[in-house]
Symmetry: C2
Subunit: 425 residues, 2 copies
């Protein structure tokens, strides 16, 4: 008995904070390690962020892009603890949670991701929506439906939908909004003439999709404009008011609904964790992904920042970083030294709308148009966690793109307007 | 031009308030009438209420049981106006909405349904959940997941889930909760021993499913008990506190989460409509479903009450009443008199859980067990609006019942607990 008890105590405890791409990859990599792995997340579900813009525009159910963390954990022989991290007690080797609980670790992986940042632009936090969390996306969807109903009730009103930021999220959201106007609104809102709804994409730089090859960037702008999106490049937002954007050049842009897709940074709470932070509040790591100054604490995914080798904040690096951190923990537990993280570029993809996407693969392979779009659909559906989610998402995406007019089958929620009889969303 | 304009003015305007079973049936019945039909609802979606308990227990997406009213309206040549009715101005023939708008009618059908009533039981409104609206069901689901996480974190805590009311909603909810405990919790919450979670069904009467034949009622109680539900009959709730029920016999029952499925009544706001009300605040109608004292105003569905011929508050009577009211409007517009509403009983069904349901058909046909259950599944999936919803629901139900352990694929949402980093559900 004593021997068994001793042995059980010697199993290293690995705590993984954050059930996103990096955290889940770490748990998966450790499933046969024999270590006691615990996933910690403030939500009971993991969100497939790349498709949140579809939830925001009524094409997918929130449940299609969310998967219970417990399901993933039990499948991979890990435990789950719901909780928000307020501090990392490196001396006691414990993660301190908001509910007062403490989770002890021998090795820790911090993979809690980042959140929307407004770069201090006045009014942006109050008057814009993000599409970075499941709750964000539901809020955009419900506000969008609410604005459309209001416009339908007032024949003289216009609706200006604005997306700030020309990265993949901004481009995909603007493209989906344009599709909504072109087919969905036409079908479901006969009261609203097409020219009463405008979609505008505002980007500070001289191009959208800056991570892609210039030819793909030009293709994306052409496709957006072809689909009715007004694209303003080199335009910086100076302030946001309730119904308009004030630009740095002194002009104003009407905006009844603004999606802020301009940037991400670590959550403010990370400041209290007591760990070194770099650009955007992200946690500073060395080449092996260990947090600077720490032996047993790793950071992975969007939250990790190595100034010598900054990574794009996308799913593929996050997955590779999570798996790398897990592998280094196995090495440390075996008494070996850590290895340097090396990113293997698997390519990058973004979609503009039906039959239009860009894909960039290593070796100068660049795809656009319907083939790239089909590749994008397949890639995202296969990457989705869980067979049920895959099937359900495929069904809903197929419905969105194969049925005409698709607006008839929008997934709609509660209107956030103040009606006298009202229940929770 | 003048002639056309005159003709257009002569098209009777029919306003249908409420996009539930009765309202949608009315709109469908009027689609070839040539009349100008407008559906009015406070939500932009129609909810398939019979499956809300599945949303509440994580088996279906909220979007699986909701369908955009505009989609239905445009398919049936009707218009849609979002709004909550605050008054019916019968003199001006206008429905007054909460946003100040007025919708003019020549004929009006009030089919806004009913809502949960707590019969004045102290604490019931504050401390219990309903499963009568989409928002209700989401709230139950999120609270349930939250309670389970809390119990998982505290090895010495128990969880008492209580359902008040033994009608179809109560029986179906209790059965689904028992299934969740038996398979879902076992799979996803290895920390929680089975005997730490209890499901209790409390019913005031001497039997559950009082609308069914006594042999079916006994079958339902047997099946519930077989599935681990404690059934307390002849038990009246006197008051509800945060964590327990106080019964009329002086005993108390621990209850961390209580679903109130004990009764429905017209919403309080209906009092302001200025129309005659009967039992449960429902609007009094004559045998032709016209509101008492009104020539052009009908009521249909749960909201309508004819003391001479009270109807069960179920989908089949609501659908038939909606269609009947529509037919009478066509007769009135053609200068004919109205006909009396006669309910054609098509039978009744309720499910207890996997492979267990009761079906009662006219002609003394009574079914129980797996065949009844398959009939119930088929009936509900076919009745669901929209091919996309049907497919998606079938997929999710199949997953729930064909995969073991199904808990791994629960549809989960946000925890309503107060965590420091929190976003909207």
């Amino acid at each position: 008995m004593l021997l068994i008890s001793n042995r059980r105590c010697q199993v290293p405890r690995v705590v993984v904070v954050g059930a996103g791409f990096a955290g889940l990859a770490a748990a998966r990599a450790l499933r046969r390690s024999g270590m006691a792995v615990t996933l910690v997340d403030r939500h009971v579900y993991s969100t497939f962020q790349p498709l949140l813009y579809q939830v925001a525009t009524g094409g997918l159910n929130p449940g299609d892009v969310a998967y219970p963390v417990r399901a993933y954990a039990t499948q991979h022989r890990a435990g789950f603890r719901r909780g928000a991290v307020v501090r990392v007690d490196t001396a006691a080797r414990q993660v301190v949670l908001a509910d007062g609980g403490r989770v002890s670790y021998d090795y820790l992986i911090l993979a809690g991701g980042v959140t929307t940042t407004h770069f201090g632009v006045p009014g942006a936090a109050q008057h814009t929506f993000a599409v970075y969390t499941r709750g964000d996306a539901i809020a955009v969807r419900d506000a969008l439906m609410d604005r459309l109903e209001t416009v339908a009730e007032s024949p003289d009103r216009r609706l200006d939908l604005v997306v700030v930021g020309g990265g993949p999220t901004g481009v995909e959201t603007a493209g989906a909004l344009a599709e909504l106007c072109d087919t969905g609104i036409r079908a479901a809102f006969p009261e609203i003439a097409r020219d009463r709804v405008r979609v505008l994409l505002v980007e500070r730089g001289e191009d959208v999709l800056s991570g892609f090859h210039p030819s793909l960037r030009r293709y994306a702008v052409r496709q957006l404009r072809h689909r009715g999106v007004q694209v303003r490049l080199g335009a910086t937002v100076a302030a946001v008011e309730a119904d308009r954007l004030c630009m740095a050049d002194g002009t104003t842009v009407p905006a009844e609904l603004t999606v802020w897709a301009a940037g991400v940074a670590a959550a403010d709470q990370v400041r209290d964790w007591g760990l070194p932070q770099g650009a955007g509040g992200r946690i500073l790591v060395g080449p092996d992904l260990r947090v600077l100054g720490e032996d047993r604490v790793f950071a992975a995914g969007d939250l990790a920042f190595d100034p010598q080798a900054p990574m794009p904040q996308l799913a593929p690096p996050a997955i590779q970083m999570g798996a790398h951190a897990a592998g280094q923990i196995e090495r440390l537990a075996a008494g070996l030294g850590t290895k340097q993280f090396r990113y293997r570029d698997k390519g990058n993809a973004a979609t503009i709308g039906r039959s239009a996407a860009v894909i960039e693969l290593p070796g100068l392979v660049r795809l656009t148009g319907p083939i790239a779009w089909l590749g994008w659909v397949g890639l995202h559906v296969v990457m989705l966690l869980g067979a049920r989610n895959r099937l359900s998402t495929l069904l809903n995406l197929a419905w969105r793109y194969l049925s005409r007019p698709y607006g008839r089958n929008l997934i709609v929620g509660d209107s956030p307007s103040r009606l006298p009889i009202q229940e929770a969303a």
